[in-house]
Symmetry: C2
Subunit: 673 residues, 2 copies
């Protein structure tokens, strides 16, 4: 009899309802810099998201639970009762349909965003290969060769540019393929074969990314799908398309800009330097930000000519993560506090590309003399500067960005700044390639075995991908940090992305000096062991920065490496995911593929699903039967941490038992359980 | 000084607010058959949309006006005030952004639906050409040749199958093309060159249909676009992609099933025959319904074997229009009353494909022994029968549908039926090809000139495309019929599609015997003139049935013929559009391209735009400056009719003046005005 119950059977939410926003409390953060700046903007009467979240209370519970439908002009319709005509929309749509549409809509925006990101990079890689984007290059030949291996591209006699073009061709096909024209390569060639079988059997294998998006959009049209399972599984297909889009983005970004390697840097608002031209890189796609870095290097003297001590680039959101991972650019702050960074008065220019750019930014920017610069026709903001950033003239356009910063610095002159004196040091840059390099010091032939052995031996409890946004329904960073600490204390190897990584960075959880403070005995001994012979010139941090939110694909890659090595399907691996403060559509699409890949997936802020017990149970229970992964929807920090640990412990125990049985029988690890 | 003011300057809504649903009145229809059946279901306690629309009152005004945002998990957010933190979403999104997202979402579902329809037919045409779909054929060689001419396909030495494959290839490209890879062929090759120039200048020319959809989906992600003009113009691009998708659907359907020609039939519930196996064809795509017709012809004896007098096929919604247009299959009823048709107790099977299939159908079907049969994995309904309809085995699968009907008839036995004794005769089948054939009796060389001359001479006031859905915010069919009558009385040539066509059919407005009753003197004289030498064996009806809602592309084609002949851009043509009871996402996407093609476009039920004066004014005013077409958002029937007539009269007057000036100068018609 098992010692632990399968947590998928006990993953019901805690009795505690989601924490209601206290309408009196504007200081919804645990980040000391943010807290200080909230006081500053409150004194100055400058409106930020912290005021707006207060003003929005109380929020509509029909919308919150997903039982409001606005897809046609008969509506809005609400599920008002359990039975009778008020229990359905005017067309007759059930609660489950309306809930599935509500959360499906978020998944759609997430997948489309990652598709746009991946497609943009694919297009640029084609331009590079055709000599049309001279500011860029095919930098990482090793990654080119690795991808050719994964994609089955014959490398004989071809140079890296020719091979990169073939990779880009395959990525291009993944965006354009229509139904009945095949399967998405960045799924089939990336996951273990058992997963492909599951995706085919369950009819969730995506064909092409755009076509799959369009299909789910039409399924939400009036008088289309009313089948809860069919709708959820179509959304799962979109979730897998999301994974493909972002995986393409990661792989191709590594090829163009280099695969990240460990790098020292700093995080939080004190990275702003009032004596320099401060340019904030904000958004998601490295195509722009990498060029701004290059432009800034060329333009130091221009900055000095106007009296600045130089140019200081810092990052926000996932652009911040991209440039931190590859270039060590310091991190300024994360999503919720983006307006507060501007309110320091020290940001001369903020250049943005796509996603999570608060529309409220420009109002604050105009108060503090910051030039907000938009760069794509998918994101504009009235009153902001706009540079139509073209890959063909990338460096020239990046220089225009820096020029704006220098000009704004000149105007800033002696205007007072207020920069909270908080920053933490950190080590970032932990691509899987970088992590495996460390493991190689223990096992040069099969580095992933180092991680697997540590789990099987009980030294580690498993791996947690911690990720996701900030969401002011919670206190900024609180759940991120507390759950991460709980994982570390309990010997979980934590990889972290997105705004979660930024919370950890700001809280010192990526500082190698903090290992003793935060890590359990097993994790400490693991770190000691793997760093004993390592040639790294940096220490290992408690939490490993795995990249931007697009780079959650790295976690998918990691679990596949682990599963391949153990000879099992990915849901057997003690690997969980957690987005304690999920907010965006991207978080919902990421969560969806996390479940399909087999992760018990914690979400700490509620998606709009509580209005249908059926949909709720599909996500939290049935998903586990079908895909191995399932959602843990749990706003309570302590309970969430425990559920994640339970899920890891259960899998680790089961894996160890079966490993033991296999060894007893002197046979290969049994694959039938 | 002009006699008439440009109506775009006076298109503000009437002071009357949208008619509020009277919560006491369940009888929201003017269709006598529907009214009778509402009494029947009320007596029997069977719930239908007429009950649900009551139960939904009052409806949320934030959602109704488009100022509720549910795209991320910080929300739901509402625009609660004109200023202060409550005037924006938590992210800082303005009212205009939230409104643009609200209506943009509807446009997306419409475009995706037409894309799926067009793509399905394209895929089938490829299968036909490859011999993989033997139930279908390339039937209409004349249309193949016409399309090759439009698309610039060299026909030398190629048979119709080879040419059809090339047409399908071009259509396929329109779905898959990514950004920077060209323009949508079914726009560039279909509209007058002046329109293409406008679309390019305004940056709204779509590249590929799916990519354009995906782009707008990402623009609605948190922290993306906050620019009202950029958002609206992106939605316009999706609207044009919608036009391309549906135009492909029409053209390729004509090739596979034949271009419609005038045909006599009947409409309303008395077309159901209790002595026969009644199979209702419901949905939108002829791929399924045409096969069911063929199957039914083969299976008459099977029906007689169980005691039925035969098989009686009837249509609902646009499948009803498709099979009426090409095969003369009688029309049963329209969208709002689809459940009522089942409540007659005489429907043995209802087979559906995509769009406007009320999720409430199956509950009613189970009460009355009707077998509801779904046929695509995009539309399922728990409890319904499901046939996985495959084009490769189309006829076999269609026979399974008819078998269900026969089996259900056997079970029906002597169960009582209640069929309202209302039906009207009609002539349908008015493709542009059929209309031009009639005009040829007057001008064999240039048939479209017949219509243009009638307008320039003042015999006709212009052309109106009347289209769109039913929406129970109004009384079913009332606005459809009243505005159509107003147009006819004032000598407007009315082409009609979708549920508007069905309202007209049920009300006798497509009965040639009713011309004298409804048409003004000019229209009567026009009809008399063009039918004098015609070889038609049917009379001309007051309203011309132009097809399904996908076939609104026929109106786009017609106005382009008129503009080409006059040597002007399409917005100069006295051609208006009206959707008096618009309901679906498709209605919003259709309305959008109607505006871009230059139609003053009336919508009688409000899209969610009233929450932003800025968006409202872009749609109703600025659109006119940019595209020539503009929205007339007007729920009042009388005022709407007058605004449409004013718009026609203004254009006709302007056109005639300039034609006169051109003749005076003995030059070609001046193109610069």
């Amino acid at each position: 009899m098992p010692r632990f119950k399968d947590p998928s059977l006990t993953s019901k939410p805690s009795s505690k309802s989601p924490r209601v926003v206290d309408p009196k409390n504007v200081k919804r953060s645990v980040d000391p810099a943010a807290l200080e700046m909230i006081d500053v903007v409150q004194e100055q009467g400058v409106e930020t998201a912290f005021d707006r979240v207060k003003a929005q209370q109380p929020q509509c519970q029909f919308g919150y639970k997903g039982i409001c439908c606005r897809f046609c002009m008969m509506g809005p319709c609400r599920i008002k009762s359990d039975e009778g005509p008020g229990s359905r929309g005017i067309c007759g749509a059930n609660a489950w349909t309306i809930v599935a549409r509500s959360v499906g809509l978020m998944i759609l925006t997430g997948c489309a965003s990652h598709a746009q990101h991946g497609n943009h990079i694919t297009h640029t890689m084609h331009m590079i290969c055709d000599g049309e984007a001279p500011s860029y290059e095919i930098k990482d030949e090793e990654k080119v060769m690795k991808m050719c291996g994964k994609l089955g591209i014959d490398t004989t006699g071809k140079d890296k540019v020719a091979l990169a073009r073939e990779i880009a061709d395959k990525a291009h096909e993944d965006f354009t393929r229509l139904k009945d024209e095949g399967e998405t390569t960045w799924i089939t060639d990336m996951v273990v074969e058992q997963r492909n079988t599951v995706y085919r059997t369950q009819n969730v294998m995506p064909h092409g990314i755009h076509a799959v998006i369009s299909d789910l959009v039409t399924q939400a049209h009036v008088g289309m799908d009313n089948d809860p399972v069919n709708l959820v599984f179509s959304a799962v297909r979109v979730g897998l398309a999301d994974l493909a889009g972002k995986w393409i983005a990661t792989d191709l970004s590594d090829i163009i800009f280099g695969t990240p390697r460990p790098v020292m840097s700093e995080a939080n608002m004190a990275v702003l330097d009032p004596s320099k031209v401060n340019v904030v890189l904000h958004g998601h796609n490295p195509l722009l930000s990498e060029m701004v870095i290059e432009a800034a290097r060329d333009m130091e003297e221009d900055a000095k000519a106007v009296g600045a001590a130089g140019i200081n680039l810092v990052g926000i959101c996932c652009t911040g993560n991209e440039v931190l991972m590859r270039q060590g650019i310091p991190l300024c702050t994360s999503f919720s506090s983006q307006e507060l960074a501007i309110a320091t008065g020290s940001v001369d220019a903020m250049v943005v590309d796509v996603q999570c750019i608060m529309p409220g930014l420009n109002t604050v920017a105009q108060c503090f003399g910051t030039r907000l610069i938009t760069t794509t026709d998918l994101v504009k903001n009235p009153g902001a500067y706009h540079i139509d950033f073209q890959e063909a003239k990338a460096l020239d356009h990046a220089k225009m960005v820096v020029e704006h910063g220098i000009e704004a610095y000149r105007e800033r002159n002696t205007r007072p700044t207020h920069i909270p004196n908080f920053k933490e040091k950190l080590v970032a840059g932990w691509s899987n390639e970088a992590i495996l390099d460390v493991f190689k010091s223990v096992n040069p032939d099969n580095p992933i075995r180092v991680l697997n052995d540590a789990i099987l031996s009980g030294e580690l409890k498993g791996v947690a991908l911690m990720c996701g946004c900030c969401n002011l329904k919670t206190f900024q960073d609180e759940a991120h940090i507390e759950i991460a600490k709980e994982m570390l204390k309990n010997d979980v190897f934590v990889v972290s992305t997105g705004c979660h990584a930024q919370a950890c960075a700001k809280a010192g959880l990526m500082d190698p000096d903090k290992v003793d403070e935060y890590c359990g005995e097993g994790l400490k001994s693991f770190f000691k062991r793997i760093s004993a012979n390592s040639t790294l010139d940096v220490g290992l941090p408690p939490v490993f920065h795995h990249g931007s939110c697009v780079d959650n694909s790295r976690a998918a890659e990691l679990v596949n490496y682990m599963a391949e090595d153990m000879g099992v399907d990915t849901p057997k691996i003690p690997f969980v995911a957690s987005a304690p403060e999920a907010m965006s559509g991207k978080a919902t699409s990421i969560g969806t593929w996390c479940v399909t890949i087999g992760f018990p997936t914690h979400v700490g802020t509620m998606p709009p699903v509580e209005g249908s017990d059926l949909i709720y149970s599909i996500l939290t229970q049935i998903a586990g039967d079908v895909f191995g992964g399932y959602f843990i929807l749990e706003p309570d920090i302590e309970i969430a941490g425990q559920k994640l640990l339970d899920a890891l412990e259960y899998r680790r125990w089961k894996l160890a038992i079966h490993r033991q049985q296999a060894e007893d029988k002197d046979t290969q690890l049994c694959q039938c359980w």
